[in-house]
């Protein structure tokens, strides 16, 4: 199967760079992919993720665009007060949409940004350490064509949130390779709201890479909701570089998905950083949702916090791997990790791996993981108060799930996600 992608690349190598010019990055990436191939389940990082589709199905990297159906906007209210950018099957829905605001903020299509501000974009594109890139990532670099780009200059605070909608709807097995870049200058502050969703459709492979750069004392709040219907396989790694005193506040809620993999790779390179990463996964049917967080404490005096929760039903599988690396001399690090899971059905499976790798002595690191069912005493108490079993369960489950959203600052979006979570739980 590997050869098919390589061949497909070789046949189209010139048109790709005409579309989005990455100069020789694509060539290097395809060479790398030829060497690596797709990861397999023998690879420690992919042991819980089922990769058998990639042996059988060729996901065409050249997406066939069909007409966009704008009806779905009605399904997600709450974007009236924000700057909205929509990617439809990975393409900017309005041809080359790119806005430059008075305060210098640039927001819109990566492709358009590359045309208009090539130097700026190139200085932030593909800055990921090679050792962390797998075959999927190389394939993304070789074939990516668009994505979102957000640039917030130094000393700029933006009040209204930037909203990004990724919407996927296809009828043939396609690979959608999107590339996203978020850059915050010194003292910049911004809130991103992201909705990733797909329609009922056949097998589709969403292969994205997002790179985030947080300069000194900047602050990024980034809340996303994922609701992939149909047979979507989504591999969404996010690579974050944090400089001194910067803050990351990220919440990912995955409410549905056939095979979803969210990797968050966060490197703290300046002192006094804060990384706060929260996640929720609700699975049902044959879903497989996996979150992996890699937190690299490369310098002293940083704090990180990972808080993930899962509710599993049907024959679904949920997996969490939290990896905290505290490098030598990264003293006074505080790193916390928590993963709690509730299994509702007898056929669901949870894998949880809270890892710590620590090379500095003056640190406070802890992790906790638990797997279980609803607390029977709590259920009993609620029933003595006159609630029937289902009501009591619903209340307990939604209370369990909504705790993940506690730190969200964007109240409007919090309301939307909360109601979506409750709906999903009721439906399940």
């Amino acid at each position: 199967m590997k050869e098919k992608y390589v061949k497909s690349y070789k046949n189209n190598r010139h048109s790709l760079n005409k579309f989005l010019d990455l100069s020789d990055l694509r060539e290097k990436a395809i060479e790398q992919f030829e060497k690596q191939g797709f990861p397999n389940s023998k690879n420690e990082k992919w042991r819980n993720f089922d990769l058998k589709e990639f042996e059988k199905i060729f996901f065409n990297p050249f997406v066939v665009q069909n007409e966009m159906n704008l009806k779905f906007f009605n399904a997600i209210p709450g974007f009236e007060e924000s700057e909205l950018f929509v990617l439809y099957n990975g393409f900017s829905s309005f041809e080359m949409q790119l806005d430059k605001f008075k305060n210098g903020v640039i927001f819109g299509s990566l492709r358009a940004a590359m045309n208009n501000y090539p130097e700026l974009v190139n200085s932030y594109c593909n800055k990921i350490n090679k050792q962390y890139l797998n075959g999927f990532n190389s394939l993304n670099t070789a074939f990516c064509f668009d994505g979102f780009f957000l640039y917030v200059p130094d000393n700029t605070k933006v009040d209204i949130p930037f909203s990004i909608v990724n919407y996927y709807k296809n009828t043939v097995p396609d690979m959608v390779a999107t590339r996203n870049i978020v850059v915050l200058g010194k003292n910049a502050e911004v809130n991103i709201v992201q909705v990733e969703m797909s329609d009922e459709h056949d097998m589709q492979f969403v292969n994205s890479i997002t790179e985030v750069f947080l300069d000194e004392n900047s602050k990024l709040e980034w809340d996303s909701m994922q609701k992939y219907r149909g047979k979507t396989i989504a591999i969404n790694p996010v690579f974050i570089h944090q400089k001194e005193k910067s803050g990351l506040y990220k919440t990912v809620s995955t409410l549905r998905g056939h095979k979803i993999r969210n990797d968050i790779h966060c490197k703290l390179t300046g002192e006094n950083c804060n990384a706060d990463i929260n996640g929720l996964y609700i699975t049902n049917g044959n879903d497989l949702i996996e979150n992996q967080v890699f937190l690299d404490h490369a310098v002293p005096n940083c704090d990180s916090n990972q808080f993930f929760k899962g509710i599993l039903n049907g024959k679904s599988r949920g997996a969490f791997t939290g990896y905290v690396l505290v490098r030598q001399d990264s003293q006074k690090t505080n790193a916390f990790q928590s993963n709690k899971n509730i299994i509702i059905s007898d056929d669901a499976v949870v894998h949880t791996n809270p890892f710590l790798e620590i090379y500095a002595d003056d640190v406070k690191c802890s992790h906790g993981a638990s797997v279980g069912n609803l607390d029977e005493n709590a259920l009993f108490y609620m029933r003595t108060r006159g609630l029937d079993e289902k009501e009591a369960k619903d209340i307990l489950l939604s209370a369990f799930a909504l705790e993940v959203l506690n730190n969200m600052k964007n109240i409007d979006f919090k309301k939307i996600i909360s109601s979506e979570i409750e709906k999903t739980l009721l439906h399940n």
């Binding site: 003293q331 509702i344 499976v349 710590l356 620590i358 802890s366 906790g368």
Partner: protein
């Protein structure tokens, strides 16, 4: 205070290995290298029956198809398996009837280790089956045990005298196909202990084995098999030391434990093999497969280990909880110093209903060492109402060492409860300050805190061992306690 602390750590790091002495006893060595003729040599030397030779050969052929695993968080220099002696035994080994007949020099070795056979026999009532490089030299208390029907002998004797039992259980928990080192062990194992407790018998004494690696360039491959039949109870102790050698010595043992219905097996080990010098030169490679199965309902297996030695330790004493209502425990203290590396932990595989397991792991890293806890807790689909609680704490003394925790938790049903907690920290300045304020000096304070930290595990050790383990821990910290 920082300076003082550094001094404490430096002193401790400079601590030399206490048990580094070599006993000059003439050894009979197998030629270096490993091929089918080595297997034949070992089997013939040990006068084994044909089925045992076949078993070894099968394992060896399988081993040849395998590759050494590399997933552990360890830096292992390349091991040349052809450059080792696979068998060493003191020449002209007689069968001893009493301790008087034993080579005095050999007895002295045990004396230096602090485990004189006589002393143990007389004062503590512990039956010791001492393994000295590969062949069992003395089995004490045989008679007392015989009356109860308890079989406690060396593996070679068991193969000769109880072939049916050995055939039935050998390789039933750790098959030769299990992993690289299990295959190697099955092919070339030299000796070890065999222990069978018949139905309804409670062993009145604690059974104990001491292992010691003596000859340079030999690998030690023991094979231990403990079977607790229905309603039986046994507590088994194992201790290990090895003399100081510059070359690294390979140790790849296999321990199998079978607990039938209502049986209880308690396995305790103190391992203080030569860890190499302060520059990381020499030391033992300890790559051991230890696994127990709670085969019958209501059975119980308990592992307690104190790991202070070996240059590289790579082992996960595990339990398969197959019987309903079975219980497994794992208590571990692992101390690493200088350039030692330890990748250790446990696996709890829950298969039966209402099974319960507890994991308590305490890691202490000093100097430039690496201390890793790696554990798996798995609840199978039918392990309803099962329960696990894991606690893994790491203590760092010094800023050049590493302490890592890699737990794997896989749950496949909705009635089980798993909880895992872990913390990593150094000794808090407040605690030290408090103790110093009460009149303790820095070194005493460190020792007190470390002992308290490990107490939860140490108290699980049988009395004689607990004293030795506490001593070992104090010795480990002696440089700092003054």
């Amino acid at each position: 205070m920082a300076d003082e602390q550094n001094k404490v750590i430096k002193d401790f790091a400079a601590k030399e290995y206490e048990f580094g002495f070599t006993t000059d006893i003439e050894m009979e060595l197998a030629p270096k290298g490993l091929d089918e003729s080595t297997i034949k040599y070992i089997s013939e030397k040990k006068e084994e029956p044909a089925w045992m030779y076949e078993y070894r050969l099968k394992a060896f052929r399988h081993w040849k198809t395998m590759k050494m695993p590399d997933w552990a968080h360890l830096k292992i220099p390349k091991i040349d398996y052809q450059d080792l002696h696979y068998f060493a035994s003191p020449k002209n080994m007689p069968k001893y009837e009493s301790l008087d007949e034993v080579d005095p020099e050999l007895l002295e070795t045990f004396d230096k280790l602090g485990i004189p056979l006589e002393e143990q026999k007389r004062l503590t009532g512990v039956a010791v089956d001492a393994v000295f490089d590969s062949v069992s030299v003395k089995t004490t208390f045989q008679e007392t045990l015989k009356d109860l029907g308890i079989i406690f002998c060396s593996m070679s004797e068991a193969i000769k005298n109880y072939p049916e039992l050995v055939k039935k259980y050998l390789g039933s928990v750790v098959p030769h196909t299990d992993n690289y080192f299990a295959a190697l062990n099955a092919a070339v194992f030299s000796d070890g202990s065999f222990c069978y407790i018949p139905k309804g018998v409670r062993s009145p004494v604690e059974l104990s084995t001491y292992f010691r690696i003596n000859t340079a360039g030999t690998g030690q491959f023991e094979r231990t098999l403990i079977v607790g039949d229905e309603r039986s109870y046994v507590s088994y102790l194992e201790g290990c030391t090895a003399p100081m050698r510059d070359e690294n010595q390979l140790h790849a043992a296999v321990v199998e434990i079978i607990a039938h219905k209502d049986a209880e097996v308690k396995y305790s080990t103190v391992q203080n093999w030569y860890p190499g010098d302060k520059d990381g030169k020499g030391g033992i490679y300890n790559f051991v497969t230890k696994r127990a199965i709670c085969k019958g309902d209501n059975s119980k297996v308990s592992w307690t280990q104190m790991e202070t030695g070996s240059a590289i330790t790579w082992k996960y004493p595990s339990t398969i909880l197959k019987g309903d209502n079975s219980v497994a425990e794992f208590y571990s203290v692992a101390v690493t110093n200088n350039h030692q590396q330890a990748d250790t932990g446990t696996k709890m595989i829950h298969i039966g209903q209402n099974t319960k397991s507890t994991i308590v792991s305490k890691g202490i890293s000093i100097g430039q060492s690496e201390n890793i806890y790696r554990g798996l807790v798995k609840f199978g689909k039918n392990a309803h109402n099962s329960r696990n609680h894991s606690q893994c704490d790491s203590l760092l003394l010094g800023d050049r060492c590493g302490a890592h925790t890699f737990p794997y938790i896989d749950v496949e049903n909705n009635t089980g409860i798993v909880e895992h907690e872990a913390t990593t920290s150094k000794i808090a300045d407040e605690q030290l300050f408090y103790l110093k304020q009460r009149g303790l000096n820095e070194e005493e304070a460190v020792s007190l805190i470390v002992n308290g930290y490990a107490k939860e595990v140490l108290k699980q050790l049988p009395l004689e061992f607990a004293a030795e383990a506490t001593n070992l821990l104090s010795i480990s910290l002696e440089g700092s306690v003054g």
